[in-house]
């Protein structure tokens, strides 16, 4: 409760900092954005599952048990088994690992690409802007999935290809959004003030532009994590993603999930629900982070 009084009084006096900033931030997240906090917790749970999937999985991913085929969820097999008697929980866990890897790597790459292109375009303007934006225009003519399918059919399916293509796709498209906010921040007086104090261009970019576009970048990143996980699932669903027997969620849905839908609905439900929950939770979390990380919104609701 003392936290609440400290933050409401922060306009007039310095809030007392007794706890570490990290703890304080999470307290604030929980207090002000409970839904976001829950989203974050759920996402962290899946992240944890993904990271420790190898340890957590009760059975081997491709360990078949022909006696226990298409079993409904039970204490031995929480999410049931598929047509080859493989444990669905173990496969969903390894699938989480795969989704998280693709999601984070691709979204990370996309964010870096967006920031670099967006700042170059927005801050330097003029010919640089013109050149980059026409390139982005041209790039955006291609439908995402078409481009992905084209690349995969040329170089073959695999995590690195998918990460690079998804990263470039979303990165180039997202540079528009970054560019827009860079232009706004560039015209802020404090950027001019920094120039008048003799700041170097690199310094202005790092200290004045980048931190002020962070709210946008964070939301962009979190939305991208969700979007890349979904797109990877879509690719795998189409059979163009991670090749079986590696258990990608999309592949599980289209493979065993669709074929045995009536015999074992859990085969589709498990990966499908995981996918939905992960994407939803990261989006909610991203929104909450955006609101909280913007210092202008501190102390106000």
């Amino acid at each position: 409760m003392s936290e609440a009084t400290a933050s409401s009084a922060s306009f007039t006096s310095k809030p007392a900092i007794q706890t570490s900033p990290f703890v304080a931030f999470n307290l604030r997240l929980f207090r002000e954005k409970p839904l976001g906090a829950i989203g974050g917790a759920i996402f962290l749970f899946f992240l944890f599952c993904g990271v420790f999937a190898d340890v957590l999985a009760p059975y081997g991913v491709n360990e078949t048990d022909m006696v226990a085929r298409l079993q409904a969820p039970s204490w031995e097999h929480w999410f049931g088994t598929d047509h080859l008697g493989r444990d669905v929980l173990s496969r969903v866990l390894i699938g989480a690992q795969l989704s998280m890897t693709v999601g984070f790597l691709a979204a990370g790459l996309a964010t870096v690409v967006s920031i670099v292109l967006g700042i170059a375009s927005g801050y330097f303007g003029g010919k640089v802007d013109m050149f980059i934006q026409r390139f982005v225009d041209a790039w955006m003519i291609f439908p995402d999935l078409l481009l992905l399918i084209a690349v995969v059919s040329v170089v073959g399916a695999g995590i690195p290809q998918i990460v690079i293509v998804l990263g470039l796709l979303y990165g180039i498209a997202g540079s528009r959004i970054v560019r827009g906010s860079v232009i706004t921040v560039k015209e802020n007086m404090h950027t001019h003030a920094a120039q008048s104090m003799g700041a170097r261009t690199m310094h202005i970019l790092v200290r004045h532009i980048l931190p002020n576009i962070m709210p946008v970048v964070i939301v962009l990143f979190t939305v991208r994590v969700g979007a890349t996980i979904l797109t990877e699932a879509a690719l795998s669903f189409l059979g163009l993603g991670i090749p079986p027997p590696t258990p990608a969620w999309g592949g599980m849905l289209s493979g065993t999930g669709r074929t045995y839908m009536y015999l074992g609905p859990w085969l589709a439900l498990a990966p499908g629900l995981c996918l939905t929950i992960v994407v939803y939770s990261i989006n909610v979390y991203g929104d909450a982070l955006r609101d909280l990380l913007d210092p202008r919104m501190r102390g106000s609701r």
């Binding site: 007086m189 920094a194 120039q195 008048s196 104090m197 003799g198 004045h208 931190p211 501190r298």
Partner: protein
Amino acid sequence: MTFRSDVGLVRAVDALSLYVNPGETLAIVGESGSGKSVTALAIMGLIGDSGRVERGKIVFENRDLLKTDEAGMRAIRGDRMAMIFQEPMSSLNPVLTIGKQVAEPIVQHRNASWPDALEQAGELLAKVAIPDALSRLGDYPHHFSGGMRQRVMIAMALACRPKLIIADEPTTALDVTVQAQILALLKELTHETDAALILITHDLGVVARYADRVMVMYAGRVVETASARALYANPQHPYTQGLMDSIPGVDGRVGARLITIDGQPPDLANLPPGCPFAPRCQYVADVCRAQQPELETVAVEHLRACFGYE
């Protein structure tokens, strides 16, 4: 000094000549668009891509700033000369702490370590009369009011003890009571460091109180320059006189109409051939419409650009 624009080259400032001595306060007065701010930005070398100084020299500490390259200018800006802007609400970076922002120029220009610079920043904040300065180093700009932020801006500008400070309407966005405090503070601190202060304003009350010398600008040209005292006692240019007359006084009759200067300032892209003030001047003569008046000495240290009128 010209600017590229949609209607062609715009001559924003023309035939301008000014000097400031250490410890002196020069006020540049004029209405919006008269070229005050652009002059200041030109001195700082910050007019941007669309503007250009066509001819002339800007000499600062025996260096021609127009011949100094960007790296050289960067070294000067914030160290030898600094600028204070008119919008304290947006001139501070919202995501950096006050302490960091004030310490920044010290780190950059003096190669100080961050802890040392922060300590100096604390002293600077105390100097600009921010109560409990040390404990506020970690605060963000939104914790501060407009007047406080302008104090922070002053602290920032003074961080490296510059020899020239340009304040571009530093008090426009502030309450009247705060205005006086800020200007008094600025004046006191520049005196202390023997820095020259260029005060850009359209408020003649401010000029009377804080300036040593005044330069009146109209349509990108200097129309009159004199010591503040002489200008008030004896304004020589009809425009200056018009400005003085339009200040509502406390002794004025209640209900009396405010005195204004009729008409609009001329379009800088399309200046009339003669004196730019001619269309609005009540003493206008034929010569004013044909020829541009030059600055001429009318008294000691008192110049005006006008043909006739007495």
